[in-house]
Amino acid sequence: MTEWSFDVQTMTEPLLKITSVTKRFGGFTALDGVNLAVAQGERFGLIGPNGSGKTTLINCISGALRNEGGSIQFSGEEVSKLPAYQRTRRGIARSFQIPRPFTSMTVLENLLVPLEFVAHRNSLLRPDTRAEAMEILQSISLADKAGTPSNQLSQVELRKMELARAMAARPRLLISDEAMAGLSGNEIDEVLGILFKLNETGITIIMIEHIMQAVMRFSQRVVCLDAGKIICEGTPTTIVANADVQRAYLGA
């Protein structure tokens, strides 16, 4: 496979364009003028040490938090003032680092929420949302758990359900926040496979991951965040070799 290289300046209208986004918690600056552009269909990796602001950035993109300064454009539209549910309806879906299942519902019902509130909210005919949810669960081999209460799932099943629920919103951009943390080697491969398959259907994917190997295998382009600032950007190979990244990660 050829090395992919995206140049932000020459990119024809990116799907997601973040310009000097800043987020403070009290006096603490969690994001400090972050610039970022992700192309349609790209597999994009976001890395950085613990506490560097990755989840905060995702929260700002998805609308769970409001950024103080800067702009966030999705598909050419400014979305940073929109409530989270509006952004989801426009095509931004995410999974949570710490899974947040709807615990009173079964796995299948968890998927019905985005199917009813996003994908089919304007359907006049009553679409068979259960069949559709089942299809999604089958595609990630979680169908046998469809009727299981979501508070009885194992760690890997929870992670998969988080992804399935995000998929059910029929997103154009899917952000996966450390979906592989705490999983075994085989399980990591399984989740990676799911994300690759999604990407093949045209969905742009931002993967946040602590497990370097996984990000490097998956991403076409990687950005490294440290203390709320982007310290470097490039292909997986250049990132691994980058001195700043090594310093941020190893403290060397």
Partner: protein
């Protein structure tokens, strides 16, 4: 515990028919006087459950909405002697608007902060009415009942049938919400509000709708109080026991299914009436308190939850 559409409406028709038959045949008015209170609590508990049970926002302000409903009726009687039906409709409209307004002010708060804010609303409204001379201020106001309408032979019986109709409407609305996409959205909010919002649920809008509908039903339940007692005073119309009972009944009955608040209200309401007659009305609060603690600790899913567990056990044995 799934009932299809027809089953529910046939059941409602049967309940209404029984209420009418009882009104036509039973002579002792006292039964209707007591039953009215029980049915009124079915409305209040069902209304409370729409926001408190489905969405998980614990409202301590039932008495505020109830009292507003009662006083809207008082106002309309004093102003232009509007009939009972219109009093109820007007009370529902005002209660809905109040629910929306209170929701706008408080629904951004979560958990205990929301609950505290609803208590504050009750106190503010009661204080306002106490200082309002037109409706009698702190001493209250006497209401003259108009002559009873055909085919009823007593006003209390008429109010009882009216309360049954209100209860059916309230339960039908709650049931519709529960089984539709709105209910799914509210449950998602209760389970995890942030995840709900990120899966496309317009959380604030849904909470506002739930608060407005819930408030409208609570105020509608309060409207007939003026006629029922022929007297309304702030201390009783805004009495905190309405808030406590409206919260305790769904929790005891079970908050996840519309039948839960109905069971809780019928059960607890009846016990309250019996205790009031046989011992004293002061003991009511104690009964509610003890039952609430027992259920919260021993059966947090309420009576409905106990039934579901029992059914699963029986199923398990059969297999």
């Amino acid at each position: 515990m799934k009932t299809n559409g027809y089953g529910f409406w046939i059941g409602s028709a049967v309940v209404l028919a029984l209420a009418c038959i009882a009104a036509a045949t039973i002579k002792n008015e006292y039964y209707f006087f007591a039953a009215y209170i029980v049915v009124q609590f079915v409305v209040l508990a069902t209304a409370w459950n729409i926001l408190g049970g489905y969405a998980g926002y614990v409202n301590f302000g039932t008495s505020a909405f109830f009292g507003v409903g009662a006083y809207i009726a008082v106002m309309l009687i004093k102003w232009m002697n509007l009939p009972l039906g219109l009093q109820i409709v007007a009370a529902a409209c005002v209660g809905g608007a109040l629910g929306f307004a209170v929701g706008l002010l408080t629904l951004r708060l979560r958990g205990i902060f929301f609950s505290i804010a609803t208590v504050a609303v009750t106190i503010i409204l009661e204080t306002a009415v106490i200082n309002w001379r037109f409706v009698g201020g702190a001493t209250g106001v006497q209401i003259l009942r108009p002559p009873v309408m055909e085919p009823f032979d007593s006003y209390t019986k008429m109010l009882f049938v009216c309360a049954v109709i209100l209860a059916i409407i309230a339960v039908a609305i709650a049931r519709y919400i529960e089984t539709s996409w709105i209910g799914r959205g509210l449950r998602a909010i209760r389970d995890n509000e942030e995840a709900a919002e990120c899966t496309g649920v317009p959380t604030l809008k849904l909470k506002l709708a739930a608060c407005a509908i819930s408030g409208a039903l609570m105020s509608a339940a309060g409207a007939p109080l003026a006629m029922y007692q022929s007297f309304v005073e702030p201390a009783s119309a805004f009495n905190l026991t309405y808030s406590v009972s409206a919260l305790a009944m769904p929790i005891i009955g079970g908050t996840s299914h519309w039948i839960g608040p109905v069971i809780g209200a019928l059960l607890l309401g009846t016990v309250q009436q019996v205790v009031t007659v046989t011992i004293s009305s002061e003991l009511n609060v104690l009964v509610v308190g003890v039952l609430l603690v027992v259920f919260v600790v021993g059966a947090p899913q309420g009576i409905v939850g106990l039934f579901v567990k029992l059914r699963e056990k029986i199923k398990g044995k059969n297999i």
